[in-house]
């Protein structure tokens, strides 16, 4: 009976561990679907912020990005970003093409210390990967050629994103140096932002945006779509940040929920206050960008901050948004959705904030944060710039002016996003 009790106790412990593993994994899968729906958030946000005539194009790009992102991450990206402990502290590693459940079903619980299964690891990370391209798609919207853009995305998500990601999350050299980026203010958002910046520099502004008489705004065609996008992104961000805990740890995941929500709310207020001060109007598009700024800002340190600190970080991110939007416009860098302000500028801010607020704050950490920002920024910007540059010199990256005027929906897709009331206007078909 003595033996029996021990056996029973062992059985119980294993059952308890399995239960914990299952609960953790459930959370990670929920986080995965939440990150997935961010792609709808990006799609509607970007669709809302472009003109009516370019809506099919932006939707098509968002659909293709997630498809390409998932497939290439399966083939190459995952094993480039997480090459395994052999490459710890390195600049580069690769564990081979494709995926293979390393130990088989029996070993599942050991894979990540009962945090999640191997497949969960892949799919959660895979959902993140495409995000960096989605960020670019918004900034270069309304004038980039479809096929070169898809080629860029393919290279960016397959090569550039996993390499810099490996530096930190794949236990590479920046990780060893002490750089901290909880859920990717730099590794995801700034990376996307640097790609966007390279793109808009090489593409030039949309026709008619910057005139000799000043800026001629090109308003987005649908504020409900844009607002929907922001709410969906915020919704998904609970998975983006909450899942980055990499387990369902009750205290930590819920703290991350609190900091994420409060930073977003403070971002809305910050942007509201500054943009009202600057423009004397209640600008919805700025408030929406402010929320996103707050979210990007808190992402690097969402697990390190208390609620009060999260509010400060988010509020400052929100304040940055209108200033940054105006600044990029001053430079004649045309970004229809504000992706550079939201993801690049607030991504940098959030990464720095880890050195300024929360449990890791300190001058030493701040320096390391700067180092990480610079290293990843230089690599990513150069990579994106070179790819875009080569595409520009070969196939060209910008649609002809007539196509831009007519809109990419008709020019590239032969199909408008909205069809009017009156079908009588249609002639008999040819085809």
């Amino acid at each position: 009976m003595n033996e029996e009790a021990l056996l029973k106790a062992n059985e119980a412990l294993e059952a308890a561990n399995q239960a914990m593993f299952t609960a953790n994994n459930v959370w990670m899968l929920v986080a995965t679907v939440l990150v997935f729906i961010m792609h709808l958030g990006f799609a509607t946000l970007e669709a809302g912020f472009v003109q009516r005539k370019n809506v099919v194009n932006i939707l098509f790009k968002n659909v293709m990005i997630i498809a390409i992102g998932l497939l290439t991450y399966y083939i190459i990206g995952f094993n480039l970003m997480y090459p395994g402990s052999d490459y710890a502290g390195e600049f580069f590693g690769f564990a081979g093409f494709g995926l293979s459940n390393p130990e088989g079903a029996a070993g599942l619980i050991e894979y990540a210390d009962a945090g999640y299964s191997y497949w969960t690891d892949f799919i959660f990370q895979g959902m993140f990967a495409a995000t960096c391209c989605t960020i670019v798609s918004g900034a270069v919207a309304e004038r980039i050629k479809l096929v070169p853009f898809l080629i860029f995305c393919f290279l960016f998500v397959t090569i550039s994103y996993p390499i810099t990601g490996m530096w930190k999350w794949g236990a590479g050299w920046l990780d060893a140096a002490g750089f901290y980026d909880f859920a990717g203010s730099t590794i995801v958002h700034s990376v996307g932002g640097w790609g966007a910046l390279a793109g808009i520099i090489l593409l030039g502004a949309r026709k008619g945006k910057y005139t000799s008489k000043g800026i001629r705004p090109i308003p987005g065609h649908s504020m409900p779509l844009a607002a929907m996008g922001v709410f969906l992104l915020w919704f998904g961000w609970f998975g983006f940040n909450g899942g980055s805990v990499l387990s369902a740890d009750a205290g930590l995941v819920s703290l991350v929920f609190v900091t994420t929500a409060l930073a977003a709310a403070a971002g809305a207020i910050g942007s509201f206050v500054v943009s009202f001060g600057m423009f004397k109007s209640f600008d919805l598009s700025m408030a929406l960008n402010g929320i996103l700024g707050g979210l990007v800002g808190i992402t690097a340190g969402a697990d390190l901050m208390g609620p009060g600190e999260a509010i400060i970080v988010g509020f400052i991110a929100g304040c940055i948004i209108p200033l940054s939007v105006v600044f990029f416009d001053k430079l004649k860098l045309d970004d229809p959705v504000g992706a550079t302000s939201v993801h690049l500028v607030c991504g940098i801010w959030g990464t720095l904030a880890v050195g300024l607020f929360g449990s890791m704050a300190g001058i030493g950490q701040l320096m390391i944060q700067l180092k990480g920002i610079a290293a990843i920024g230089v690599f990513t910007f150069l990579f994106a710039f070179i790819v875009f540059f080569l595409l520009k010199k070969s196939v060209g990256i910008r649609v002809p002016e007539e196509e831009e005027v007519a809109g990419l929906d008709i020019a590239e897709h032969g199909s408008p996003a909205y069809v009017g009331v009156n079908q009588a206007a249609f002639s008999t078909a040819k085809g």
């Binding site: 001629r216 308003p219 600008d283 598009s285 504000g338």
Partner: protein
């Protein structure tokens, strides 16, 4: 027969319709148009840039009437569409060679349903 073309504020549409009706004119065609004139366009703000949309929204009414109805129609519109502010719009009178009612094939005076 004449065609009266009136460009009016959409906020006065109901009043104009009523005033015409009181003068026995229960028939017209209308559409939304954009106007460019004394009154400047609305000022919009988008992402920090203030701009003039370059037009104001107006309604255009086209009313075919027999000659007797021209003056009453003009008076009715003047009385009902006027606010006195810049931007009230214009009325123009165009001569018509002929009018045909599609349903009946009737022409001219008899084609106009002003009564």
């Amino acid at each position: 027969m004449k065609k009266i073309e009136a460009i009016i504020r959409s906020s006065r549409f109901d009043e104009v319709k009523e005033a015409l009706s009181e003068n026995g004119i229960n028939f017209f065609t209308f559409m939304e148009v954009k106007g460019y004139g004394h009154q400047k366009g609305e000022t919009h703000t988008y992402r920090g840039a203030v701009y003039d949309v370059g037009y104001i929204a107006r309604m255009k009414l086209e009313i075919m009437v027999s000659n007797d109805f021209v003056q009453p129609a003009i008076d009715a519109i003047l009385a009902s569409a006027k606010t006195g502010e810049v931007g009230d719009g214009k009325i123009a009178i165009v001569n018509l060679d002929e009018i045909v009612q599609i349903r009946t094939g009737l022409r001219n005076e008899s084609a106009i349903n002003t009564k």
